[in-house]
Amino acid sequence: MLRRRFSLVWLVSLASFGCFAEGQAPNTAVVASPACTVEVPMRRLTPQQYAHAIGDLFDGAVEPSARFPEQAGRSVTGFSTEPGLNGVDALAAEQILLAAEDVALQIPGVLDCDDEECAARFLDRLTTRAFRRTPTEAEQVNLRKVFLDVRADEAAVDEATAMTVAVILQSPQFLYTIEAGASDTPVRALTSNEIATRLALLLWDSIPDDALLAAAAEGRLETSEGVAAEARRMLADEKAERMSRRFFREWMHVDALTAVSRDPARHDWYDAAFAASIGESFDRFVHRALTEGWTVEELLTASTAPVDDVLAEHYGVAAPSEPWSWVDVDPERAVGVMTQPAVMASLAHYGESSYVRRGHFVVSGLLCRSLGDPPANATQEVVQIENWLRPGASRRELSRAVQRRTECGSCHLTLDPPGLAFEHFDATGRWRDHDVYGNVIDASGEIGALRLEFSGARELMEGVADRFEARECVDRQVFRFFASRMDEDADRCVLDQMQSNDGSVRGGLMTLVGSDAFRYRRTGSAEGTP
């Protein structure tokens, strides 16, 4: 009796959300497979995406659990969405369970339901948002059984609801990007709901909201214009800050900044408040760069920065009346995103700047030149070389000695000069005229392989920004960010399309989401087919 009544209620409530029920219509606008598609691996929500998704699912009324599995391993792209970092082993399976329980325990506090009908409406809406589509018949039966079994065990409505939520949040429909598409062919047209999920994970680092699911249901994501229109709405939403923050922080290695400590004997101003300020300045800088569509030249050479009292002192400018006002800084001391103190401090050591990390980032992160890993004995070698130098030798002297070693020189010849161009910025990103050993800093140099001569960070970055590779590299980073893997030769067609944009991160993103590759998926087994 009870079961029967419930199943009816469940169906009634589904009808009330009929707008989503139509959302699974396949993308039928294009019948023939498009020529340019790419392979995108199935991804599991990252810990960040999970936290955002829980927040969005319950409109901020429920705290995400801290027990969701942490990332494990080293990212090849630098981005956190790589499948290898977000695997499910025995431990992760249990942590996902415990995290789901933590959320379930909060359900009675947010559920305003006395009867099963109301609970069914709640679960219906939640499942649709969590799965990013209307649940299938089989899924409904399965979840309904969980609810009723718990009810049969004399549980209250809110308790049965909570336990059903625990199942929903452990289900692969919630945890993974399931991109089965609308056909069983090697190149698959994604369903509108799958496209909506791609958009939300890319631009909001979370799952779709109701408006995005409605756009999918109404067929507005079936064309590249429709997807682009939705993307513009999403980039204007404040949730896009999650995306700019994650993309730029992961690209520029600005991670866990507050946990970084700096030798207090040399940098006594580096504390948690300083780290928080330079982190916020960075986030504001890159979010503006994203939303205003800064070109690569602007991104790499702008001499302005958002400043609070801490940053004002850091840059040696007058404190603004309004915190986080944008202030023009001496163009030698503010050279685009690179000299954002958060970047300089991240690309540094505990007690000293790191010309190797900085140079490596310019070459591999901004120019996308592959350098490979250093030889296993690199650290021992450099300690030995340092012992031969005079005490208090400058980093430039060390670099010269390292470059004289043939096995070291091949890479360091290219990566040291751009790193040494930033020697005026200490391990906290603060300007200095002398290094920690008292040597006068010489920030000039040249990169032979790029035929680039410069005196200081500004000339270097102007030269880099002028290179075709820098513009292309921005696109490649955006592509890796989206595809959760390194770009390969097979992805050339998409990268070529992205080249048509204005060289901005925003332009690259918009071209990408408007491409066929965004609405189709090539599966791995179909490699080589168009």
Binding site: M42, A90, A93, E101, M163, V167, I178, A180, D184
Partner: protein, 478 residues
Amino acid sequence: MSVDRRRFLVGAGGAALALPWLPSLRGTAYAQAQPPKRLAIVYFSHGLVRTRWAPASTGPLPATGPISDLLAPLGDVREHVLVLSGLGNPARHLYEGDNHDCANNTILTNAKPQSLALAGGESIDQAAARLLVGRGQLPSALLPVTPGRYYTMFFSETGGVVSPSTRFSPNPRLAAEGLFATLPSQSTGGGSRPTLQQRLRDGRASMLDAVTENLKSVRSGLSSEDRQRLDAHAEHLHALSQRYTVGAPSGGHCTQPDFGTIPSVDVEPEAAGTRDDETAPAQIDNIVRAFACDVTRVAALQFNETENPSFPWLYDGSVTACRGSYATWHDMVHLGQPTGADADTGVPSLMRGQTFYITQLAELIRRLATTPDIDGTSTLLDNTLVLALTDFGDESHGSANIPVVLAGLGGRLETGRHVALEGRTMGDLYATLLGLLGAPSGTTFGRTERIAWDTLHNLELWNDDVRPERFFHGPLPI
């Protein structure tokens, strides 16, 4: 016969038998089950005062009076105890580096460290776990007595710290909640209504099955690569569900303890070691319960405050009194020992603190000896091998003559004795222990080859005339 045994236990053990989770002895299938073998490790740092721990002579332990100055607390359980002296840890010398890192990376692994942070292979508990784990148990459980600040000695096969799923909180109540999550809640049998938290815990197996059902429904549309990943996920769900289904093989006799009665002690890392008198007995209780309910078959009690344990409960609450004029306990270990300039003040303090560790070891042995095993006729100690050891053999952090105490395995280990084993190694010991736990004969553990002493590092820390010839010679004559 079994009833006589039980009477004896009641007489010897007292209160332990009143524990509510223990099964009744009367005629259930469960009571006839064959108890599994188990391993319990007790680990503490900085050795024992070199001249004060070993019994004066080898052979049977004295029938009355203290076994030795430091092992006196073991007097009541002496018939269960086997004291081993003379064992060395040559693997420590395979790596050049800090004594503490090198000793801790090798003492339970008998392998060359990959780096100061990475051991050369798994620790003995992990090898034993593979040997002993049955269906549905947690392979091993590491129970720290206090937040770890410096070192670990428990490693997985890759040399990294053992899996977080087998490391428990130093807060005994949190540890119990994790450890006994798979047992049914006490209140589900009847009585008061279960809380949502209890429902979630008890419903884990069925929820996991529902998740698996959902997983199957998406599987069909995916590419083969994606399917493989989901299948791997499904396997882990299955194993987890099985663990929660099996719970304990007690047929429902083992229920979750009343978590509210287990001490909840949170210690800030800076205050590590200041409340061991509360946490150590409670973690011992967790180990005994875990064995009695067959939640795991390998457990380790780790006293992990190494730098500056302070034993304030022995000194009217003072956290500095135990180290006298020394800056830290660690300093006192180096200087306050028999050969040091300040031996008269340091040695009594060191012994007072170290006696606490031995007292806890005695408590674990006593509890295991007075708790019936799942067959209802034997005790947990009859089927459990206890291994107590420390990292160093002397005040210079030497690696020869490491104090080792074994206990248990009723009859399969000839206890009540002291055996001197100069020239033998931890590798010999671990191979012997694995054999006692049922490994095939010829099983070895870690390094086995001849020791090339001229290639080793920090040999001044050997501090002993007797040098082992190999990392492994064969099972010990014990």
